[in-house]
């Protein structure tokens, strides 16, 4: 488990991360979401032990991470711009990583290279941006570490490749309990991969929840009430997070579990009623609007 407790970090006089506390459970895919400058990379760099927090603590499996080799053995950090040695090829990288990570899976590494169509002898500086990201991911996966920190790593990967990586993640999670932590500014990229999501904004955590919990706790309903009294009764009985009215059609986002909400609607007369599925984006919009943020501006730009 990675525990981030009251962590703050400033660059010169600019507060990049302000009193952030998040817990990342093992064997889940944790998505760290936020706009550019929200502090995602800073949090990941601190978790990777690259940066030292000014305040607070970061512990990897109860070990402080900064300059702690035992904690770092459990982490592989893929930066937003992964670094490869000058004039090196994939084999050179593998040799170096083998000297640093004793559990490095050499056979898997070369298998993945073949599967991803990457030439092990080709100089990495001739790779495309996407290929470099693939190689960085392969290095990270094969390092054998428990935690894989990916900073904007899925940007630039085509959908097929993303799918491939996701399936590798799934198998590694199942096989050895790998825990990927993925930072991204793009909600839609993480929707089908994350189990738990933390939303960062202006250096602080807006929320950190399991996706399933969020999905179960928010419902979206569209209906046409027969009378104004019916509408008033429902609104007063439920925790309405959002109510969009288009003529007589009400689109309600309601906090609560589905059964309870349906029970309330059963007590009033409706001309039309339908429960709609919620996207991750909509869940976030609803959650963050509650705390006064327009998440469309935050996440979707």
């Amino acid at each position: 488990m990675i525990e981030i407790r009251n962590v703050s970090k400033s660059y010169d006089k600019i507060k990049a991360v302000d009193n952030v506390s998040v817990s990342i459970r093992e064997n889940t895919v944790f998505g760290l979401i936020g706009t550019n400058g929200a502090g995602k990379s800073t949090v990941l760099r601190m978790v990777a032990g690259v940066l030292e927090p000014e305040q607070g603590e970061i512990a990897i499996d109860n070990l402080p991470v900064f300059d702690n080799i035992e904690a770092k053995k459990n982490i592989y950090f893929i930066a937003d711009e992964p670094y490869f040695f000058a004039n090196s090829n994939a084999t050179d990288m593998q040799k170096y990583l083998c000297s640093v990570y004793p559990e490095f899976a050499v056979d898997d590494f070369y298998n993945y290279l073949v599967n991803f169509g990457l030439d092990k002898k080709r100089k990495i500086n001739t790779y495309s941006k996407g290929m470099k990201k693939q190689l960085a991911l392969i290095c990270g996966i094969c390092s054998g570490t428990k935690y894989l920190l990916c900073d904007e790593t899925f940007d630039g990967l085509d959908p097929v490749m993303r799918q491939g990586i996701k399936s590798i993640f799934a198998s590694e999670m199942e096989r050895r309990g790998m825990t990927p932590i993925i930072a991204s500014h793009n909600l839609r990229e993480l929707e089908d991969i994350c189990d738990h999501v933390g939303l960062l904004h202006k250096g602080g955590v807006l929320l950190s929840k399991d996706l399933e919990d969020m999905k179960c706790n928010i419902q979206k309903v569209q209906c046409v009430f027969k009378t104004i009294d019916d509408e008033a009764k429902v609104i007063s009985s439920l925790e309405i997070m959002k109510n969009e009215k288009r003529g007589s059609l009400n689109v309600l986002t309601v906090r609560g579990n589905k059964a309870e909400i349906l029970a309330v609607f059963a007590t009033v007369n409706t001309i039309f009623f339908e429960a709609l599925p919620l996207s991750l984006e909509e869940i976030f919009i609803s959650e963050t609007e509650v705390v006064g943020y327009d998440v469309k501006k935050l996440i979707l730009g």
């Binding site: 660059y11 010169d12 760099r45 990777a48 032990g49 690259v50 940066l51 030292e52 300059d67 080799i69 770092k72 053995k73 982490i75 592989y76 950090f77 930066a79 711009e81 992964p82 670094y83 040695f85 000058a86 050179d92 040799k95 170096y96 083998c98 000297s99 640093v100 990570y101 004793p102 920190l149």
Partner: protein, 769 residues
């Protein structure tokens, strides 16, 4: 068995990233040792072959051997190219090794790895040392093998190579750590380059500024003891060590320890900075915010002070004369101060707008600069008039440069290394009559402060004062040494009385006169040196043998005991004993601290005035048949030409001419006047007052002969003693059948002592208006 993550594996992996640095180091030492050895051996062999017709085979073989050994000692020893290569590799290695700290990408990669920061430092640091030592040793070994194959290696060469290796490694460590520290304190390579430059030059610049300001504002400042060479720099320590090694042929532990301590201190400091360095410093100008204002002020203050000095000559700023031009000095200081602060702030921020930020730094730098300037301007610490308290002085060296030195003798130590007057006195003169010297210094400074050297008046011109320059080195009981210049009026009675005691002392003679030195006695006794010796007035000369010189030196020392300032000042030498020692050196034509020498010899010359009251010396010379006894033999003379310049008359007439208004021409270029046919004498007067007279009459020749002295024998010296009359020039033409024509030449230059011109000569050569 080596574990996968062992230290050696880390070093190996690190070295893979540094291959090009290895290549540079290997190439450098391949060029410096094996290639240079082959070239030098080849050059020495071929150049020595040219001597085949001059020397016998056995001698030639010895010359070749000597040259090869000397060449190899120099090549494998401490020399400039190795210094340059060591410094260059140290800087490249440090910057390349730790350059990952400049890049966020690299920092994310390396610091994300499960490797302790301490270990990463150690791996890079150690590789940086190995990539110097291994190519050095390999190159040295191959070079030595090539040299050995040509018979050019012996114990001396190995000793020289070993000493150089040890010194170079310590020097390398010093520069390497300095460059590592520069990397740790900065965030990008350009600023690191500046930082290395600053580290290398800063102390020198500060010392230079202090020295130049002292020289500018303090009239008693002495350059002796004021050293520009940085002490806190591997370069300064290296230069000192090499100078010392070249003179003593052994490594001085003091300098080695200095180099080691410097390397250790800077190494620890750089390691501390490495541990404290935040990862986010990558790409910034400076790593630690807190250092920025200090560094700015520390750079700008000496830079602005030096800027003031740089224009001091062009605005003719002479504080002793007047404060004219000080406005320009202050302007230059202020301009560099403001521009310097602005430029550094721009570098800090990587933004031109930074030029107008942090204006308070300009104010702080300005205040500090002004304070320093005022310290010199008003001599706040009383430097100029400082004479140490008598009871705190252990001994003193009093150095009247060029005093009583007819041939500007070489001064040298036991090994024959050349020394300046001050160095020689510093080493050998330990005057204990502290009170006399302090009294002389006090009186002289008091009197000298009263005169206005830059505004001559007729009154000052007519003064009898004769100010002579000397250096006084006070050795304090605390171990400190203080050097000051001193101007003494040798015509002052009290000064003369004190000078009699100082110059008359045994300690002075031992530490000033080359002829009184034990070194010269040892040289005379040694077969190692060839010696040619003469006694004469530079025209009439008698040769002396080694044994005669040995005997003479004993007599000379006894005579010297009775000599003092006044007795020498009032006398005219009867002749000069000149010694010239030489040593044959095969091989190199440069002997380090021993100076430049010609291809086969180096030499030392010593001249000693012999005064009429040097009874023992004269008796010794007479006994050995070396005493010429005369300035000129009338029997050798064919004719004498006397020229009287009549310069007093010329000056008076010129003055009249100028006052009458016709003197405008004096402002014209004298060469133009000459081109227009005007007759001038060589002092630039419009009227030529020179009068020539030739004497062939034997009686007149006899009278002139008894009154003349060889030009080179009588020199107006530091003591303002007896001098030849400037107005008269006497050219003596020898008879064609005279031995002088064969031995010396057809003519010789003589002069009359002031006030001792024969009456008929005066009459014959006076200018008639």
């Amino acid at each position: 068995m080596m574990s996968k993550n062992s230290f050696l594996v880390s070093m190996k992996e690190n070295n893979k990233r540094r291959l090009w640095v290895w290549v540079v180091a290997v190439l450098a030492f391949a060029l410096l040792f094996p290639v240079m050895t082959a070239l030098m051996v080849n050059n020495i062999i071929s150049s020595t072959k040219l001597l085949a017709e001059t020397y016998e085979a056995s001698v030639l073989q010895q010359i070749l051997h000597d040259r090869l050994i000397n060449g190899m000692k120099e090549l494998f020893g401490l020399w400039g190219y190795t210094l340059f290569a060591s410094a260059a590799i140290a800087i490249i290695s440090a910057v390349q090794g730790f350059s990952y700290l400049y890049s966020r990408k690299k920092i994310d990669f390396y610091m994300g790895m499960p490797v302790k920061r301490k270990r990463r430092f150690l791996v890079i640091w150690l590789d940086g040392i190995l990539l110097y030592i291994l190519p050095y040793l390999t190159g040295l070994l191959v070079g030595l093998l090539i040299a050995a194959g040509n018979g050019a290696v012996n114990g001396e060469v190995l000793h020289s190579a070993g000493a150089a290796f040890l010194t170079n490694v310590l020097f390398y460590l010093g520069v390497y750590h300095m460059a590592v520290l520069a990397v740790m304190l900065t965030g990008n390579i350009v600023i690191t380059g500046f930082a290395i430059l600053v580290f290398g030059l800063y102390e020198f610049a500060v010392r230079l500024a202090v020295q130049r300001y002292q020289a500018l504002f303090f009239k008693y400042f002495s350059y002796y003891g004021s050293n520009n060479r940085p002490l806190l720099s591997p370069f300064g320590l290296y230069i000192d060590l090499v100078a010392d090694f070249n003179s003593k042929n052994t490594l001085n532990v003091k300098y080695l320890a200095g180099l080691l301590l410097f390397a250790l201190a800077i190494g620890l400091l750089s390691y501390f900075c490495y541990l404290k360095r935040p990862a986010e410093a990558a790409g910034r100008a400076m790593t630690f915010e807190i250092t920025k204002p200090f560094i700015k002020v520390l750079l700008v203050v000496p830079a602005s002070l030096l800027a003031g000095l740089s224009i001091e000559g062009s605005v003719n700023f002479i504080p002793e004369k007047s404060m004219e031009g000080i406005g320009w000095i202050i302007f230059a200081i202020a301009a560099v101060l403001i521009i310097g602060c602005a430029v550094i702030q721009v570098i800090y921020e990587f933004d031109i707008k930074g030029a107008v930020h942090r204006k308070r730094h300009i104010l702080i730098s300005g205040v500090i600069t002004a304070l320093i300037f005022l310290v010199f301007r008003y001599d706040i610490f009383g430097y100029d008039g400082y004479i140490p308290a008598r009871d705190k002085i252990e001994s003193i060296a009093f150095v009247p440069e060029y005093y009583e030195d007819p041939t500007y003798s070489t001064r040298f130590d036991e090994q024959g290394n050349y020394m300046s007057y001050q160095n020689y006195a510093d080493r050998y003169m330990y005057l204990t009559n502290v009170a006399d010297i302090c009294e002389l210094a006090e009186n002289s400074m008091e009197e000298y402060d009263k005169i206005d050297r830059y505004n001559y008046s007729d009154e000052s011109k007519e003064s009898d004062a004769w100010w002579s320059y000397t250096t006084v080195i006070y050795r304090l009981k605390s171990g400190r040494q203080v050097s000051r210049s001193l101007w003494v009026n040798v015509e002052d009675e009290q000064t003369a009385r004190l000078l009699d005691k100082i110059i008359g002392s045994e300690e002075f003679k031992k530490g000033y006169f080359s002829g009184a030195s034990d070194n010269i006695v040892n040289m005379v006794k040694s077969d190692r040196y060839q010696l040619s010796a003469t006694f004469g007035n530079t025209i009439y000369q008698e040769k002396m043998s080694r044994e005669q010189i040995e005997e003479f030196l004993e007599a000379y020392r006894k005579d010297l005991e009775s000599a003092d300032f006044s007795s020498i000042k009032e006398s005219v030498p009867v002749g000069i004993v000149t010694l010239y020692f030489s040593e044959v050196i095969a091989g190199s034509n440069y002997m380090g601290n021993a100076g430049y020498v010609d291809r086969v010899t180096r030499g030392w010359d010593v001249g000693m005035n012999i005064y009429p009251f040097y009874k023992e010396s004269i008796a010794c010379l007479k006994k050995n048949g070396c005493y010429t006894g005369v300035q000129l033999k009338w029997e050798d003379v064919e004719k004498i030409q006397v020229m009287n310049g009549n310069y007093d008359i010329a000056e008076r007439l010129q003055k009249q001419l100028d006052e009458s208004g016709d003197g405008e021409e004096t402002f014209e270029d004298p060469n133009l006047l000459l081109e227009r046919g005007a007759t001038q004498n060589y002092f630039g007067y419009d009227i030529d007052t020179r009068v020539y007279e030739e004497y062939t009459d034997q009686e007149k020749i006899k009278e002139i002969v008894s009154a003349v002295f060889a030009n080179e024998l009588v020199r107006q010296d530091w003591d303002n003693g007896k001098a030849l009359d400037d107005n008269y020039s006497v050219i003596v033409y020898f008879k064609t059948d005279s031995p002088m024509t064969r031995n010396y030449g057809a003519s010789a230059e003589y002069g009359f002592l002031e006030g001792q011109i024969p009456g008929f000569v005066k009459e014959d050569t006076i200018y008639k208006e």
